[in-house]
Structures are given as structure tokens and as C-alpha cells.
């Protein structure tokens, strides 16, 4: 990696101030950024570590809303019991080392098209809380590796409305074990939401046709006549566009069956 400076602010305000520097980059758990630096594919002059900011850590539940600090590692999300589908999702990200270091804020800011968390955020209609504003999930994801975040904006927390029932079904890419396709299905106060990760060249997306069908009848058979367009799917070594489109349907059905 190239040489760089590191700042370790202890408050959000300090972190935001440090990020005003144009050459500075925020560092979450480092599970993507550090390997990128090692490969010399990024050359920030300054890293601003968010992992020492107490106000960005921890999990709390209040009035049916689960709030997770942006610097909370996956291992802690996996251990909470108020939102079991999210715990299961977090407990199956990467390996123990990744789960001990990687953070929910880092994952969402990166918005890898195969990451797991974006599907839960979009699938529950969660709210991304930053140092300046609150962003609804439907407005936040803007294509692979692209989000509504401004340059010096930090995800301080994510607020999940705990759904009545939910399930995340992930089909592993055999090598990386990221989601080749992952589908998050939730029964929320505002109806059924279906969010798909791993599959699309546009990143995480809601499968609205499935939501409409499931709002009428919450059974896996309700998807029988639906077909998902393979055009915008990712096609690569691990699966064709058609295969991914097929898996979206299979994983959605499995999520529905898991919810029961």
C-alpha cells in the first residue's frame, strides 16, 4: 500500500471535520478498503477511522424500531435477538474475522452489489441516519457502489422498523461466498417488501411485481406466473444472467416458505 496518515476521532463531529480534507477517506471496519489499499488500487492521503467513535456503536430497540450504530460490527448484529432475520443475515456474512471487524455503516456506504446488508435495509424500508440527515432506504441505493451519501457524510446509525416476519435467503457465490443472489422478504406494517441483492447490474433492488402478488396472497405459489427480466442481471463466471434471474425466484420462494 501507499503511505497515508490515520486520524482516529472520538466523536462524529471530529470525524466530519477530519473528512473536510479532500484527500481524506473514511475507514469503517476496513474489510473492503484495506485490501484495496494493499492492492494499490486506492491512494488516500489520510484515513479517518470511525471505529473509535462511541456514539456510533451499539444496538438498541425502542417502539418496534431497532437502531444500530454505524460502527457496529456484524458480530454484534448477529447476537441481537429482537430482529432474528437480520441476526441470521449478519451471522452469515464472510467469516468470523470479517464479522468481528466489518461494520454495517461500512457495508452500506460501500454498497457492494453482492453485499447482504443492502437487501435488509431496502427490504424493511429502514432509515439511514447520517451526521446531517435521515435518508429513506428507497432513496439511498443508487446503483452498484453508488449511494445518496455526500462526500463528507457519515452513516451514524441505521433504524430498522422490525417487520412482523422476515427471512433472508442467500445463495452463495462459491468462491467469495458473497451473495450470488440474496433475497430479503419482510412483512412490514406497510405491506410485503422484497429486496434482491447480488443479482442486478443496478445493485440491490425491490422486486415490486412480487410484492404486489404477495400483498394479495402471501404464498410462494403467488410467484408462479411472475418472471424476472434477465436483461439487467449480472452474468459472470459463476452464473449467467438467466441463472441469476432464476435464482431470484427460487430464493424469494424459499424466503416466503421460511416465513410460513
Amino acid at each position: 500500500m501507499y503511505a497515508f496518515d490515520v486520524e482516529t476521532p472520538s466523536s462524529v463531529a471530529e470525524a466530519v471535520a477530519a473528512l473536510k480534507d479532500e484527500e481524506a477517506t473514511a475507514l469503517g471496519g476496513g474489510q473492503t478498503l484495506i485490501p484495496t489499499l494493499k492492492q494499490r488500487l486506492a491512494a488516500p492521503e489520510k484515513l479517518v477511522s470511525l471505529s473509535g467513535i462511541a456514539e456510533m456503536k451499539g444496538i438498541s430497540t425502542d417502539g418496534g424500531v431497532l437502531t444500530i450504530g454505524g460502527a457496529t460490527p456484524h458480530v454484534e448484529v448477529a447476537a441481537q435477538g429482537d430482529f432474528p432475520a437480520l441476526a441470521a443475515l449478519a451471522g452469515n456474512i464472510g467469516d468470523p474475522a470479517v464479522r468481528n471487524r466489518g461494520t454495517i455503516g461500512g457495508s452500506l456506504a460501500n454498497n457492494d452489489p453482492s453485499a447482504c446488508y443492502p437487501s435488509a435495509v431496502l427490504g424493511t424500508g429502514a432509515t439511514i441516519v447520517t451526521n446531517t440527515r435521515e435518508i429513506a432506504a428507497d432513496d439511498y441505493f443508487q446503483g452498484m457502489f453508488t449511494t445518496a451519501l455526500e462526500d463528507d457524510e457519515i452513516i451514524t446509525a441505521v433504524r430498522f422498523p422490525i417487520p412482523k416476519a422476515a427471512s433472508y435467503q442467500k445463495f452463495d457465490q462459491p468462491a467469495s461466498r458473497f451473495a450470488l443472489v440474496g433475497v430479503f422478504v419482510a412483512k412490514t406494517a406497510d405491506g410485503v417488501r422484497v429486496a434482491v441483492t447480488g443479482a442486478s447490474e443496478d445493485g440491490v433492488f425491490r422486486w415490486t411485481e412480487a410484492e404486489e402478488a404477495l400483498n394479495k396472497e402471501f404464498r410462494s405459489d403467488a410467484l408462479m406466473d411472475l418472471d424476472i427480466n434477465a436483461m439487467n442481471m449480472i452474468g459472470d463466471l459463476h452464473g449467467t444472467k438467466e441463472y441469476r434471474a432464476h435464482l431470484v425466484k427460487v430464493m424469494t420462494r424459499r424466503a416466503i416458505n421460511a416465513i410460513g
Binding site: M1, A3, Q39, R40, F171, P174, A175, S176, L180, L237, H238, G239, T240, Y243, H246, L247, V250
Partner: protein, 787 residues
């Protein structure tokens, strides 16, 4: 029960204490005073003309000591190839020069163009970015069949074509095989690809070159399976350094799997540069770099035809294979698709006529060479797959079809030039049927069906040839090396023993198993015996470890040396006991005069050898140290029968391995636990090949599975608990231990079992599928089910 520590005991591996506590001494753990670091600037293009290299800015950068280019190596030799294959017309293979650093052209992604030696690795990398390469991209030669087209661009302009050789075996059988296939009752044909693999040992390659100006001595620390081979190849053919001025040391090595057999350009570079800059020069390969610089494995495209009579008796076998050599000939690359592949095409069967044609092809890809099994997995896979298909076409049970064609009388001379000394293929088949519980399969299949899964079973046999030998024969076949092994048994004054072996342990457990043999022979405790290996200045010239040869060849050398020790020790004991040498017996570490209670202990005899006060000095030299070189009379031929049970998820195409059973015949066994581990590891890699691993190039020659993000290594949850058995033992008839070798068996026997099982599962579900190419990824299996 064998005594703990003797032959047959599952003694725990003593080396594991240091490995598991993080105290191994690997090459990267070694740092020399004043050490500099080298970073290789590698081609990002598969095929490019080098029009110019401007290092002027880079040379001025902080910490840069010197930058080398291909021009610096014009006067030295290229990386040599250790095996010359003669083609079917009697001509030598085409053998291009393999420069230490690319010169004129870069021929694969990863081909090193510049080497930057600097005070630190980061400074070397910084300087690499300041080098201006003027490269002119040329069309890449990737697909083997297109590479042989008349108008194909050439990987090596000085060669006639991209064809390395067109090999026929046995050429005299060609017409007879054609005739038999033309006239046969039934011919089963299968076209398949043996997927390209990357070995991925846990420890990447590392090299440290050192030079001592006061003595003119070079030292190379390197991650090699065979340091003497490196010394010979690099010293004699590349750098012109005589052996007494070149020491090669391979300390603890974290796995080799074949890819650390070969002499690599980086080793020669570090040795050369250490003298040129008068500093030790260290190179540590990164994992990303390993993907594009370690020799790859397999990569054969094959058409195989099996001719049968109406009863399913095998009449003739014909194969047509294209074997990828990559851009240059790696050390043993030409031998893999030929002598290590064609000679095994008889398998376990008495097919009377066999013809094997292999076209070896140069492409703009990383060189391909031996990987665990080396040629034998390729032979076994195509043969066992075509038999499986033939059984289906003929309506004969696959086990019965195999049995009816088994070789049952030994020794057996195959039509492909080898003679199997022993084996009992029905015994391993029976054992496999028992341990795999084939009788319970239908019940398990019904349970899978209840869970919405398709269950299938695949069985197959394999034969392998280990301990490639004898040297005079392999010399005739084109080997440029001998294939003996050496051992020096040094008995110390108080009776402990150091064994200097030419074999090299990089995970095999030699430090535990070899002492078991000596302890057994002498009747002393195994803890009294230590193994010394991996240093050309400490051990006699040896050929190293590959091809499951260490115990069969290296162990035999050790036995021969120990026999000499016993003979001499008996003479000393006879003197001490004032008895006739012929009356002396050695048992449990005591020399006894037969039929009396007069005895002398092992330690008293060894002390007398080195403190020869009471000693027959006029007849016998003092000391107790013997060396033996053992050159085997033949290969050994382990064999076995494997069964794999899979479940296929019909919705996703995902295959899970539910059961895997291996019944092997390895002849006699020294340490059953280590043998279990070897079989487990081999099956794990075989499952990796069958389900997960694939090195894939795009049309431009970019390696698209160039990291663990896309190259899928098998993990613990990809494999089942194995059932392995090696109680069927037909000892090898021509080595003193009666051992055959077990290192590669699992990797040879398992891929066809897995693929046979998946095809069986799909067939049982009514799918008309005869073959799916490896790896059987979910996507491929699903795709096959759609058509």
C-alpha cells in the same frame, strides 16, 4: 498391535508441534543481514511486443538499488526444461527459450519484465510504477485448437508453430486400434475437458539469494520440493555455478502439490542479483502474484472412444488429447500429458489395444505442469467417465462392467508399456461396496427425494504409478534427470541417529514416518532418530519429493543404508562378544549371540564404533555411517475403488457431497494415520477440481478467476466426513518395504466419482444427461438440466 513408533503405528506427527504452535521455520521467516527486496514488474498483457523500457526515472527513486531487464540475462541460460519428448514422427519437441526476464516479447499475464531491487519492498513497488513500458499488444493465443490453426499468431516467433509435439502412444498400435474401433459391436465416445487448476499451497513461493565474496559461494533459500534438482538445473543450465559453490536450502515448506517441484525464474533471479548487487535479495510472492506465476495444472481437452463387444468386453481404447503447455515449458511439463498419462490409460482393465494421441500446445497463458497426480488424474478421469457412460449405453451395471474387464493376474504387462506388479481390484471393489454401504443407497435416495433432492451415486476405480523409475528407462523416455533417491544414516556415538534423506517433507510427515522404519529395523525407540532434509550441503544428492515417491524410493534408500549399518554393527558386536559375526542377532536394540544369553546393547556398539579402544581396527574402519542410493526396478501401482454419493438441489443445481468412501491398496503401510490424512487431502483437492476450482482465461488472455473472489478453493463445509480404508494390501514386489505410495491417490480417484454421481442423480431424475464438464458448479448443473 505394532509397538508405538514402529512400522504400522499411527504415531502422532512430531513436526506438527512446531507447525501448530506457529514455530515452523519457513523461507519467509528467514532474513539476512543487509537484505534487499525484489519486486517483479509483470506483464498485464497476455501477448505483447516490448518496444522499450525506460527505467531512468525509477532508478533515481529512494531506496532503489538496481533495476534489471531482460537485457541483463541475455548471457545466461534460460529456465531449462527437464524432459524432452519425442513426437510420433521421431522428432524432438519444439523447445523455446524461457528467459529469466521477458526479452523481446511478454508471453502471458504475469510474465516478469523488470525486476526492481530496493531497500524495501514498498520502495521497489513505488519504483515499478515509475517505469515506462512501451508495450505493443499482440493478439493472444488462448484456445488450444485455434492455436494450431495455420493462421494463428505464434507464442514464439522462432518456432514453426504453436505445436510443442504431436505424440502417439503406442504408435505401432495406431492402425490396429483404428481397425478394432471400426469393427466393434459398440463404441462409446465422450468429449471432455480436464479443468485448469491452480495449486494454491498455503505458503506462497519465496526465494532469498545470497553471495559470499570471500568464498565465492552462493546460497539460495527457496520453497522447493527438491532442492538438489534446483541446484542442478539452476547451477548447470542457467547461471553456470558449480555445485560446490552453490547451496540450496528448502526449510519448512507449507505445501507443494507439485507446483514447487519446478525451477522458477525468480529463484535464478535472486541468486544472480545477490552477486550483482552484493546484497542478499529476497522475494516473497504475493497471493495475487502466485495466481499468475505458479505453474498451473491439468488443462486437457480430450475425446475418448471405448470399443466393446456385445457383452461389454473392452476391445480397444483411443484417446485424442490437446494438452496446454502455457507460454513456456515448465520443468516437467512435457512429461505430464505423455509418460505420466498415456502409460496409465489401461487403468485397471485388460483392454488389449490402446492408442493415445496428445498434441501439446503453446498458448499465452501461465505454464502448466504437474499438479497432485500429474497426468494420472487426467487418464483416470476420462477412462472412468467413458466406462460410466458405456455402462449406461450397454445397460450393464457400472460395477459389473468394471469387474468383467478387471486385470486379475499379476504381473500384468499393459499395452501401454508398463507392468503392474501386484493388485487385487476385486478386493478393493468389494471393500468399497461394504464401507460405502451401497446396499443402503436406495433407502437414502428415497429420503433425499422426500426432501426434494436428487440423490446419485458414482463409483470408479483408479490406478496410479508412483515412484517413477528406473532411471535408465526414464532416460530413454526423455527425462534429463535420474529418479533414484539417497539416504545417509549417521549413527552417533551414543546411539542416536540422524538420517540425511534426499526426500523433502512439505507436509507429508517424513519426520515421523521415516524414523518409524528405522526404529523398527533396529529395535530402538523412534525418538532416537531424526530426519535431516532440504539442504544440499547436508544431505547427499537426492531427487526430492513428488509423484508419491518418498517412502517407496526415499524410504527404500534409507532401508538399504540401515541394512549396511546393521551389517557393520554386527561385526562390531561380534568383536565385543568374541563371537562369530554369523551368530549375531539384532532384536529390540540388543545384539545377542544366538542361543546364548551373551548380549551387548545398541548404545555400547555405537560407542565402540566411535571410541574404538576395543575394536577390530585392522579389519574395520571406525565410525558408523552409511549411504545408499536406491534406484527402483519399476513404478509402484497403488489402486483402489471409490464411491461418492451426492445430493443435487434441482432448483438451484447445487451439488452437496453426502458420503465419500475410498478403498485403497497402498501395499504395506508405515503410519496409517498419516495415510488417512494423505487420502483425505487428496480427496479434498479432487472434490475441489470436480465441483469448485477453475482457472479461466478470457479471449484476451486475462485470468478472470485470478483471486479467491473468483477461484473457489474447497473449504471444510464443501466436503463430507470421509470413510477411508486401506486394509486391502498387495505389497509392492520390488521395493524392500513393500510400499506403494499414497500421496496422490485421493486426487486421482475422486473427480470421476463425483461427476459419475452427479450424472447418476440427474439420470435417475429422468434427465438425458451424459456428461457435465468440471467444475460442476451450481450454474453449470442447472444449465445442463434446462437443455
Amino acid at each position: 498391535m505394532p509397538a508405538d513408533g514402529g512400522i504400522g503405528a499411527s504415531t502422532k506427527r512430531r513436526e506438527d508441534v512446531r507447525f501448530l504452535t506457529g514455530n515452523g521455520n519457513y523461507t519467509d521467516d528467514i532474513n539476512a543481514n543487509g537484505q534487499a527486496y525484489v519486486y517483479f514488474l509483470r506483464s498485464e498483457m497476455a501477448h505483447a511486443k516490448i518496444n522499450g523500457i525506460d527505467t531512468s526515472d525509477a532508478e533515481k527513486m529512494d531506496g532503489v538499488i538496481r533495476i534489471f531487464t531482460g537485457e541483463d540475462f541475455v548471457e545466461v541460460g534460460g529456465v531449462p526444461c527437464g524432459w524432452e519428448v519425442t513426437d510420433r514422427f521421431g522428432n524432438a519437441m519444439q523447445e523455446p527459450r524461457h528467459p529469466i526476464l521477458a526479452h523481446g516479447k511478454a508471453r502471458h499475464v504475469g510474465d516478469p519484465i523488470c525486476a526492481i531491487v530496493a531497500e524495501t519492498l514498498e520502495q521497489a513497488r513505488d519504483a515499478a510504477e515509475a517505469i515506462e513500458l512501451d508495450l505493443e499488444e499482440l493478439p493472444a493465443v488462448i484456445d488450444m485448437k485455434s492455436a494450431l490453426a495455420k493462421d494463428s499468431p505464434k507464442v514464439h516467433d522462432e518456432l514453426e508453430s504453436n505445436l510443442c509435439y504431436d505424440w502417439g502412444f503406442v504408435e505401432e498400435n495406431r492402425d490396429a486400434v483404428d481397425e478394432a474401433i471400426k469393427n466393434a459391436h459398440h463404441v462409446t465416445t465422450l468429449e471432455l475437458r480436464n479443468n485448469r487448476l491452480i495449486a494454491n499451497p498455503m505458503e506462497p513461493r519465496v526465494a532469498i539469494g545470497m553471495f559470499d565474496r570471500t568464498t565465492d559461494e552462493h546460497t539460495l533459500y527457496t520453497t522447493s520440493q527438491n532442492p538438489h534438482v534446483i541446484r542442478l538445473l539452476m547451477g548447470a543450465f542457467v547461471l553456470g555455478i558449480p555445485e560446490h559453490k552453490l547451496r540450496v536450502i528448502s526449510p519448512d515448506v507449507g505445501g507443494g502439490f507439485g507446483t514447487k517441484i519446478f525451477h522458477y525464474a525468480e529463484e535464478a533471479f535472486c541468486t544472480f542479483a545477490a552477486k550483482a548487487v552484493n546484497r542478499p535479495v529476497k522475494w516473497t510472492c504475493s497471493r495475487s502474484e502466485a495466481f499468475v506465476s505458479d505453474a498451473h495444472g491439468r488443462d486437457h481437452v480430450t475425446k475418448i472412444e471405448l470399443a466393446m463387444d456385445k457383452d461389454g468386453n473392452f476391445l480397444a481404447l483411443r484417446t485424442d488429447t490437446h494438452a496446454n503447455m502455457g507460454a513456456y515449458l515448465s520443468t516437467f511439463a512435457p512429461s505430464v500429458p505423455t509418460w505420466l498419462h498415456g502409460t496409465l490409460m489401461a487403468g485397471n482393465y485388460k483392454t488389449p489395444l490402446i492408442y493415445v494421441n496428445v498434441k501439446a500446445v503453446f498458448t499465452n497463458t501461465v505454464p502448466v505442469d504437474a499438479y497432485r497426480g500429474a497426468g494420472r488424474p487426467e487418464a483416470s478421469f476420462q477412462l472412468e467417465r467413458v466406462i460410466d457412460k458405456a455402462a449406461h449405453e450397454m445397460g450393464i451395471d457400472p460395477i459389473e462392467l468394471r469387474r468383467q474387464n478387471f486385470i486379475t493376474e499379476f504381473p500384468y504387462a499393459t499395452p501401454v508399456a508398463v507392468e503392474y506388479d501386484t493388485g487385487d481390484y476385486n478386493a478393493t471393489m468389494d471393500k468399497m461396496i461394504e464401507i460405502a454401504d451401497l446396499a443402503g443407497f436406495e433407502k437414502r435416495a428415497a429420503e433425499s427425494a422426500d426432501n426434494g433432492k436428487l440423490r446419485g451415486i458414482g463409483v470408479n476405480c483408479y490406478i496410479e504409478a508412483c515412484g517413477i523409475a528406473p532411471s535408465n528407462l526414464v532416460g530413454q523416455l526423455g527425462a534429463r534427470a535420474g529418479l533414484y533417491e539417497s539416504a545417509t544414516v549417521r549413527v552417533n556415538a551414543t546411539g542416536s541417529i540422524s538420517v540425511m534423506t534426499g526426500s523433502h517433507s512439505h507436509g507429508q510427515g517424513h519426520e515421523t514416518a521415516f524414523p518409524q522404519v528405522i526404529a523398527d529395523m533396529l529395535g530402538i525407540d523412534a525418538s532416537q532418530v531424526d530426519i535431516v532434509h532440504g539442504d544440499t550441503s547436508k544431505v547427499p544428492m537426492g531427487m526430492g519429493t513428488y509423484g508419491s515417491r518418498s517412502l517407496a524410493v526415499g524410504g527404500s534408500a534409507m532401508v538399504r543404508a540401515t541394512e549396511k549399518i546393521i551389517n557393520k554393527a554386527k561385526k562390531i558386536a561380534a568383536h565385543l562378544l568374541e563371537a562369530s559375526e554369523g551368530d549375531i542377532e539384532l532384536k529390540d536394540g540388543q545384539f545377542t549371540v544366538a542361543g546364548t544369553d551373551k548380549s551387548v546393547a545398541w548404545g555400547d556398539v555405537t560407542l565402540a564404533a566411535y571410541v574404538p579402544h576395543n575394536y577390530p581396527l585392522e579389519d574395520l574402519e571406525p565410525g558408523l555411517e552409511e549411504t545408499a542410493f536406491y534406484d527402483p526396478a519399476n513404478f509402484t501401482y497403488p489402486s483402489g475403488a471409490y464411491a461418492c454419493e451426492v445430493e443435487v438441489d434441482p432448483e438451484t443445481g447445487k451439488v452437496t457431497i453426502e458420503r465419500f468412501s475410498a478403498a485403497d491398496d497402498f501395499g504395506n503401510i508405515v503410519n496409517p494415520m498419516i495415510v488417512d490424512g494423505q487420502v483425505h487431502g487428496g480427496i479434498g483437492q479432487g472434490i475441489g477440481q470436480a465441483l469448485l476450482e477453475q482457472a479461466v482465461y478470457d479471449d484476451d488472455g486475462q485470468l478472470i478467476s485470478g483471486s479467491y473472489m473468483d477461484y473457489a478453493m474447497p473449504r471444510a463445509d464443501d466436503v463430507p466426513f470421509y470413510t477411508v480404508d486401506h486394509s486391502c494390501q498387495t505389497p509392492c514386489t520390488h521395493n524392500p518395504l513393500g510400499v506403494k505410495g499414497c500421496g496422490e491417490a485421493g486426487a486421482i480417484g475422486s473427480p470421476p466419482a463425483v461427476v459419475n454421481a452427479v450424472v447418476d442423480a440427474l439420470r435417475r431424475a429422468g434427465q438425458d444427461i451424459t456428461h457435465i464438464d468440471m467444475p460442476l458448479t451450481p450454474s453449470r448443473v442447472w444449465q445442463a438440466m434446462q437443455s
